[in-house]
């Protein structure tokens, strides 16, 4: 996770209703701020008070909040809205000239995607994440990292695919059994994309606690070592045959098996005569007619 955060460019945090991503966004912002960077936040979904909640004073002093939340569509006509609306605010961030490494956070990119045309938004994101050179010239370009919160369920595959192709890293949030996980797909130039799954939790002070594996409850507890028990001991019936029993079994002829002895016994006329005889005493009412009673049928 640290390497993903450290690299410059566009980072998409894709969250869902069940696994929200704003706390991870705030944790990454806190990390950047503690490294000495300035952090610009374009806040569209929550108020500035709610967003700054949880940061301590040293981090809060490094956060510069551009408030689109209060009046995004200029309904109040009070003049407090940012000039140019949300797109103007985004483009203004591209033109900022303060020196030093900078992190820009968009909360959220979904809000911008619902209100701005996708091509204009993609162009603005490209301009934002490209490395700027300082206006004085001569000094090397400073890396710009853009962290974007994106709610997956709100957009179709087209806009999601377009934004994915712009991103240097994507972090897809999910989890199991109350434990959050981040599936990180990172694309570095001229290298294969790498995938990695990281289990984590966000502590109340918005620091990131990385965990090694899935929650312990899902792993079976290792059994204390017991000698294997022989189930065939102490049985009331016999599973094995002794030698004499096996010999008797093998020499048994089966009733329907036609062996050569049986064949000879059938061929030789046995000592017994045909014993099957039928003795019949006709009754007074019996009709001993030898004709076939079915002869008169024309079948």
């Amino acid at each position: 996770m640290e390497s993903v955060v450290a690299q410059a460019g566009l980072v998409l945090l894709r969250d869902s209703v069940e696994w929200e991503g704003r706390s991870l966004l705030k944790a990454l912002i806190k990390k950047s701020a503690l490294c000495g960077e300035r952090v610009h936040i374009l806040g569209c979904e929550v108020s500035e008070d709610e967003f700054r909640e949880g940061f301590d004073a040293s981090v809060n002093s490094r956060l510069i909040y551009h408030d689109v939340f209060r009046d995004p569509l200029n309904w109040s006509q009070s003049g407090e809205a940012l000039p140019g609306g949300p797109l103007g605010a985004l483009q203004a961030m591209c033109r900022r000239t303060d020196p030093g490494p900078v992190t820009i956070a968009l909360d959220s990119l979904s809000w911008l995607l619902l209100h701005l045309p996708c091509p204009a938004l993609c162009q603005a994101l490209c301009a934002l994440s490209q490395q700027h050179s300082c206006p004085g010239g001569g000094s090397p370009a400073e890396p710009v990292r853009v962290l974007c919160l994106l709610h997956e369920e709100l957009h179709g595959p087209g806009p999601l695919g377009a934004l994915s192709s712009l991103a240097q890293a994507e972090v897809i949030l999910s989890g199991t059994m109350g434990q959050a996980s981040a599936h990180i797909l990172s694309r570095r130039p001229q290298q294969h994309p790498t995938r990695q799954t990281q289990w984590f939790s966000i502590l109340p002070d918005l620091s990131l606690d990385l965990q090694g594996g899935p929650p312990l409850e899902s792993q079976p507890h290792p059994e204390p070592h017991t000698p294997p028990v022989d189930p065939t001991a102490h049985m009331t019936f016999n599973l094995h045959l002794s030698e004499s029993e096996r010999a008797a079994k093998d020499s048994l002829t089966l009733p329907f098996q036609f062996s050569s002895e049986k064949q000879q016994a059938l061929l030789r006329p046995g000592p017994r005569q045909a014993t099957g005889r039928i003795f019949y005493e006709p009754d007074a009412y019996d009709d001993l007619d030898q004709e076939d009673p079915d002869d008169d049928l024309d079948v």
Binding site: D15, V17, E18, E20, R22, E45, S47, D49, E50, F69, R70, D71, P72, L73, W75, S108, S110, L114, H115, H151, E153, L154, G178, S201, L203, P204
Partner: protein, 266 residues
């Protein structure tokens, strides 16, 4: 209000949280019992309530409210309740000349409208009193329901913008609460409704989802309620993020029980 539901949500009228958006949604069942619960809950909590009722008449809510122990007529007369009866006042848009824009002005507009007049109406209804005396504790906005606005021709983004401005005015400026009902179309391919439901889900602090049973209608168990807390104020380890209960709606109350533990079955 239903005391059992209060226990599940771990809240009472006296110590309810402020500045929160609660989303009610129902799928394959009728979730309006949750609307009646929150209406009586906030009236009993002595809050100023603005109820945008687009689905049923005033007398319907009044009759159910009386069973739950609140009188909407009395609340409206003393100024605690501001009731926008959508069914009646939508007719006014067409047949009466209005000096100012009507809250449901979008019904008249030919092109894609927005809900700014409705937002202005709500903001006016819930603004704090000028004399500085706080007669009521905090403002509450109740909407029943938002899916009707989609059926009336508005886009999902327009409804989301309306809810955004309501959150600014009610939740952020005045530390009040919002409760809104959205229907979940479920299998029906309704993209606009899905955008509205998911968009609001991401902005909500508490989601109550009433679902019909997967096996169909049952006389003793009317449905299943899923409770999801999205931004818990306490660390996640100390508070269950999601609970599921089954329920049975009776005449004056709703009883909740764990899955499979209906008294009729045991």
């Amino acid at each position: 209000m239903y005391p059992e539901l209060n226990n599940l949500l771990n809240t009472t009228p006296d110590r309810a949280e402020q500045g929160k958006l609660t989303l009610l949604c129902d799928a394959k069942t009728d979730g309006s019992f949750l609307v009646h619960h929150f209406l009586s809950f906030y009236l009993k909590a002595n809050c100023k309530v603005c109820f945008v009722a687009l689905v049923q008449s005033f007398s319907h809510y009044n009759i159910v409210g009386r069973k739950l122990g609140v009188s909407l007529t009395a609340a409206r007369e003393c100024g605690q309740l501001v009731f926008l009866e959508g069914l009646k006042s939508s007719v006014d848009v067409f047949f009466r000349a209005q000096a100012e824009p009507h809250p449901l002005q979008f019904l008249r507009e030919a092109d894609v409208g927005n809900l700014q007049p409705l937002y202005e109406f709500i903001r006016e209804a819930l603004k704090p009193m000028e004399d500085g005396q706080a007669a009521w504790r905090y403002p509450v906005l109740l909407v029943d329901d938002l899916s009707v606005l989609l059926s009336l021709g508005l886009g999902a983004v327009a409804v989301l913008d309306f809810m955004h401005y309501c959150r600014v005015a009610v939740c952020w400026e005045q530390k009040g609460n919002i409760v809104a009902l959205v229907h979940d179309s479920g299998d029906a391919e309704d993209e606009e409704n899905d955008i509205l439901l998911n968009g609001l889900s991401h902005q909500s602090h508490l989601i109550l989802r009433a679902e019909g049973l997967a096996t169909g209608f049952c006389r003793d168990v009317h449905g299943q309620l899923k409770i999801l807390w999205r931004t818990p104020s306490q660390p996640a380890a100390q508070r269950d993020r999601s609970l599921t209960y089954q329920y049975k709606i009776q005449d004056k109350s709703v009883s909740f029980f764990a899955k499979g533990m209906s008294p009729a079955v045991l």
